[in-house]
């Protein structure tokens, strides 16, 4: 990975204090993001996908800390920056939207005043131009009747509208990166489709790079340029959408693709069971974190931690058995 990427995250490790000393909720996550790209981080709960997103913006919970790694934005290291310096990054260079839009806005201030505030902390704009820009942003995120919404309180709006407002606030200072953490999980299917469509539209118009964090493989399939599959705080696989969906190499990715019902699934197909449950995050196996549930795990897997290896250009897998695994046809999709 050269230094030309918009955002480069390398070997990031997020630790929490636990019963037996610190444990890593995110371990060795490495990726980059380019302009105009949608990178999906997919994983189940506890996979560390949200913590990865938060660590980029320095918004981790109080107890957590980044124990290792680097986060470079346009070549500039973000991890060592002071809180003051981060104020200038958040919302201006890198923005974030969250899972439940209904509770992500301050309920006692109007949408307009929150937008104007967000604009004015980053620019020297006078109040009137900030109001104009706010209305323009509301229009850009396809909110009908921006003037009315400008004066509304968040609780007067629906979930879909709130998420549009969140996006307007996130994008009002023209950031180059947007981190979207499960932006549609709390929304209805038809509204979800609207929001996802909007994100793609905005990406096409502004060439913003988007990190889309989700548990929903359908969304990944519909949106992603590149994909990171995470499990228990570790990257299992990373590659283009083509790589991951058509040629998944990690046993976890393969299992995941076969255990999610999809619309184009043949009749009579039985969903694959990934046996067992995710191990306790404070008590992870020494070797590969997936070894307790992996159908291919051998003794070696439980002792040796697999490295993230580049199997084909841009296609990374973290599995000791990857050469054997790649022979196996992946799922029913073939």
């Amino acid at each position: 990975m050269s230094g030309k990427h918009l955002l480069e995250v390398k070997d990031i490790r997020v630790v929490f204090p636990g019963k037996k000393g610190e444990f890593a909720a995110v371990d060795g996550v490495t990726f980059h993001l380019d302009q105009g790209e949608i990178l999906c981080i997919v994983g189940e709960s506890g996979s560390g996908k949200t913590m990865t997103g938060l660590s980029v913006l320095g918004l981790l919970p109080e107890q957590a800390r980044v124990a290792a790694g680097t986060v470079r934005y346009q070549g500039r290291e973000l991890l060592g920056l002071s809180e003051q310096e981060m104020y200038g990054i958040r919302g201006k260079e890198i923005s974030m939207i969250f899972q439940d839009p209904m509770v992500s806005l301050d309920q006692v201030f109007t949408v307009g005043s929150q937008l104007v505030e967000a604009i004015r902390v980053h620019t020297k704009m006078d109040k009137r131009s900030a109001v104009e820009l706010s209305l323009e942003m509301l229009d850009k995120v396809r909110i009908p009747n921006p003037e009315r919404v400008f004066g509304s309180y968040p609780f007067e709006l629906s979930g879909g509208m709130c998420q549009r407002v969140m996006i307007a606030i996130a994008l009002c200072c023209h950031p180059k990166v947007l981190i979207a953490d499960e932006p549609t999980t709390a929304l209805d299917a038809t509204v979800q489709a609207q929001i996802l469509e909007l994100l793609v539209e905005l990406r096409d118009a502004t060439h913003i790079g988007i990190i889309l964090i989700t548990h929903d493989l359908d969304i990944v399939k519909g949106m992603a340029d590149r994909i990171i599959v995470m499990y228990a705080g570790k990257m299992m696989e990373m590659g283009t959408r083509q790589d991951v969906f058509s040629n998944p190499l990690h046993p976890y990715t393969q299992g995941l693709l076969k255990c999610v019902p999809t619309l184009d699934m043949p009749e009579g197909f039985r969903l694959y069971n990934i046996e067992g449950i995710v191990p306790d995050i404070q008590d992870m196996p020494e070797g590969c974190r997936f070894c307790t549930r992996c159908p291919r795990a051998e003794e070696e897997c439980c002792i040796v931690q697999p490295e993230l290896r580049e199997i084909a250009p841009g296609h990374f897998v973290s599995c000791l058995k990857v050469d054997e695994v790649s022979e196996v046809k992946a799922g029913w999709a073939q």
């Binding site: 189940e44 709960s45 009908p144 629906s158 879909g160 509208m161 209805d188 299917a189 038809t190 509204v191 979800q192 489709a193 609207q194 996802l196 469509e197 548990h215 929903d216 493989l217 359908d218 969304i219 399939k221 519909g222 949106m223 299992g255 995941l256 255990c259 999610v260 019902p261 999809t262 619309l263 184009d264 699934m265 009749e267 039985r270 969903l271 694959y272 069971n273 990934i274 046996e275 449950i277 995710v278």
Partner: protein, 322 residues
């Protein structure tokens, strides 16, 4: 066609809403507004719709957790209100949040044993045998019987809830979003478990979900609800291959990544679902329907046949062929 187990006819459930200080501006949420369907023995009927469409209310009215305002609910031909206790125990429900349906201070064993204790007539040893048997059925070990709900994962709790429902040989189980709160790998385990026990015990399911893919996987027939009404009801294959109602098409269009697989024109809906307090006149979907015509505003469409066991409530059925 096999025997009809559950029949719902013109069912209505309204919730009064009082607003203002002196409770003046009264309105009514028409959560379920004239719903009719049948569930046949051994089949799985799916009920899909977005939040607020009334699917959960419907299930609770069927189980008499809420009184109905109008209509009939017949189980094996008898009104559910007239069922005796043993018949009533044949109708069970699995909830979305298994943690909420388990008593946190009660061990797994007594949670599963409870139906037997309530029914009475079981010796202590019999109950213990039954509980261990049920735990085995849902893929848990006897050791789990001594745990508390908070010591279990979400998937394990849902297994406990299913084990409890399986006590006393049920016939008809309403599954209300049973996998929505679970991670995908666990979701598959539970879906497969539900399929397996259905086969083993000849169970009949009413399966409520917002996830079209999950419903497709597990259901034989599917009813699509919108604002308290059934918009379309059809065998699963027909519904996905040839959806007739614009709302069904919109739902299928909304599945991310499905755009290139649709057999019909993609519909991306504008706006949000209208309020169920004041549903639109005529067809409820007309305010968001891209095909709506004048007739849709004046007349409420009935469910009309448009294929084998396929019914759709739309005035424009003939125009939207394909």
């Amino acid at each position: 066609m096999t025997e009809v187990l559950l029949e719902v006819k013109e069912l209505k459930k309204y919730f009064p809403v009082a607003q203002g200080m002196f409770y003046r501006r009264k309105g009514v949420i028409r959560a379920v507004d004239g719903v009719s369907f049948q569930v046949h023995r051994g089949e799985t009927l799916g009920l899909v719709g977005e939040s607020g469409c009334g699917k959960s209310t419907l299930s609770r009215v069927i189980l008499q957790l809420f009184p109905r305002d109008a209509g009939e609910i017949r189980y094996r031909g008898r009104d559910v209100e007239e069922l005796d206790r043993s018949q009533r125990s044949k109708l069970r429900m699995v909830f979305q949040n298994p943690y909420g349906s388990l008593n946190p201070k009660e061990k797994v064993f007594s949670a599963i044993a409870e139906p037997y204790r309530i029914a009475g007539g079981y010796s202590r040893q019999q109950i213990e045998e039954e509980v261990l048997h049920l735990l085995g059925l849902v893929g848990l070990s006897p050791a789990h019987a001594r745990r508390y709900p908070h010591e279990l994962s979400g998937g394990q709790r849902q297994r406990i809830a299913i084990a409890r429902v399986l006590a006393l040989e049920p016939e008809f189980i309403i599954c209300d979003e049973p996998v929505s709160a679970l991670d995908v790998s666990i979701q598959a385990q539970i879906l497969n478990l539900l399929k397996d026990i259905q086969e083993e015990f000849g169970l009949t399911y009413l399966f409520i979900s917002h996830d079209l893919a999950v419903v497709k996987y597990i259901c034989d027939r599917i009813a699509v609800m919108y604002l308290g009404k059934i918009m379309e009801i059809a065998p699963a294959r027909a519904l996905y291959a040839k959806p007739k109602h614009p709302y069904t098409r919109a739902l299928l269009s909304a599945v991310p990544g499905a755009a290139d697989q649709l057999s019909f024109e993609r519909i991306v809906l504008e706006g949000d679902t209208p309020n169920a307090i004041d549903p639109p006149s005529g067809c409820r979907f007309r305010t968001r329907c891209p095909y709506a015509e004048e007739v849709c505003a004046h007349e409420e469409p009935d469910l009309t046949s448009c294929g084998t066991e396929h019914f759709s409530a739309c005035h424009l059925l003939h125009k939207l062929a394909g």
